[in-house]
């Protein structure tokens, strides 16, 4: 069974094997053939996802069986075509097997899904869905620590707090919010007022410490 020529071209295009003229012809075909374009886009996305999610090297599951089957198919192809080509075989030849595009798409999707599932934190864990740092110098990263059973949001590039600055901590037990004046009063352990949180005209928080609080 012959592999359709467009499959060869698609694989060669994806692998960057085409020279400039071939690439230009193939690009024209992509522009004219929406189905081929869609398949090319899909293959490119899969390639990108695989590179992003898989390690550079990983063992092939049931590798011996897989290799033996590939070798059988190669031998069958060679016999049927009686090909005397001396071109060296490489792993790229797998891409030229009939129906490989479809099979590889399914296999790749399963592998990507599996890797993504493995990378997910346990369902009972907290999850960071998105982050945004308004300051350009600040970088944010997040991950789940299974050792600590905690989700970590790490900020780097922050300006240090001056060493001579005294950090004053509070012990807040409850709060009351007055919607009419958009202010929240925070109370301490003994029911005393510790802080009032309000917002200014620019929607910035203003924290007013009570005179008898630690702050």
């Amino acid at each position: 069974m012959k592999t359709p020529p467009e499959d060869h071209d698609l694989i060669r295009w994806l692998d960057g094997e085409m020279n400039a003229a071939e690439r230009e012809r193939f690009t024209s075909r992509l522009d004219a053939d929406p189905a081929l374009k869609a398949e090319a886009d899909l293959m490119q996305r899969l390639s990108t996802d695989l590179r992003a999610n898989l390690p550079a090297e990983m063992p092939v599951p049931f590798g011996d069986f897989f290799n033996s089957q590939i070798q059988v198919r190669i031998a069958q192809e060679e016999l049927s075509e009686n090909a005397g080509s001396t071109k060296q075989a490489s792993w790229l030849d797998w891409f030229r097997l009939p129906g490989f595009a479809t099979i590889s798409t399914v296999v790749a999707a399963v592998i990507v899904a599996g890797v993504m599932i493995l990378q997910q934190p346990p369902t009972a864990a907290s999850v960071v869905l998105s982050t945004y740092a308004p300051s350009q110098g600040v970088q944010v990263s997040s991950y789940h620590s299974t050792d600590a059973h905690a989700t970590v949001l790490m900020l780097t590039g922050l300006e240090d707090v001056p060493a001579d600055r005294k950090i004053v901590g509070y012990h807040i037990e409850r709060s009351e919010t007055d919607q009419a004046v958009a202010a929240t009063t925070l109370y301490g352990e003994r029911g005393e007022v510790v802080l009032v949180v309000a917002k200014d005209a620019r929607n910035q928080p203003r924290l007013l410490a009570a005179a008898n609080s630690r702050g």
């Binding site: 907290s126 960071v128 944010v140 949001l153 240090d160 707090v161 901590g169 509070y170 925070l186 410490a209």
Partner: protein
């Protein structure tokens, strides 16, 4: 004569004992206390991670269910000691913002986005340092799984914000 005098005195006493004609004010009723709807309760703390023992002399202790907090922080941050500088137990209001302020220096604005699938609560968080927001994040916070926010360096250590769904 004596009996007439007694009657007159009795009558005057009665008249004097009659309350004034102005109606008594109705008994005051306390205003109904409307507790806002909440999506849970969070515990927030500002922790100083350091290699020096008792560097701030803070006496704050975590709640009983978080007694292992220093040990868990030690799995993530490379410091020997973890001192709680301040802590705040706060309702997460459903319809308006909540503030978690264990310190004036670093604090959190919390907006609830409702319960999360599989438990916990969807939150929009803003981590503030004075008048500057350091990071905005959307997160699902689940009980038993704290969020550690690695903040700025201070002295020989680092300030860490801990947020836990109670």
């Amino acid at each position: 004569m004596k009996s007439l005098l007694s009657i007159a005195l009795f009558s005057m006493t009665l008249i004097a004992s009659v309350p004034a004609q102005t109606p008594a004010p109705p008994p005051t009723q306390p205003l109904p206390v409307v507790k806002p709807a909440t999506d849970g309760k969070v515990w927030g703390a500002l922790v100083f991670a350091t290699n020096e023992e008792t560097s701030t002399h803070s006496t704050e202790k975590p709640p009983a269910n978080l007694a292992d907090l220093p040990k868990r922080l030690g799995k993530v941050f490379a410091y020997k000691h973890y001192e709680i500088l301040g802590q705040h137990l706060q309702d997460v209001f459903r319809e308006y913002e909540s503030w978690v302020v264990p310190s004036k220096d670093l604090f959190l604005k919390v907006d609830s986005k409702g319960p999360a699938e599989g438990g916990g609560v969807n939150l929009h968080l803003q981590f503030w340092r004075d008048q500057q927001v350091l990071v905005k994040t959307d997160a699902v916070l689940r009980s038993g799984s704290p969020l550690f926010i690695g903040g700025p360096k201070w002295r020989d250590g680092q300030l860490i914000f801990v947020l836990v769904l109670q």
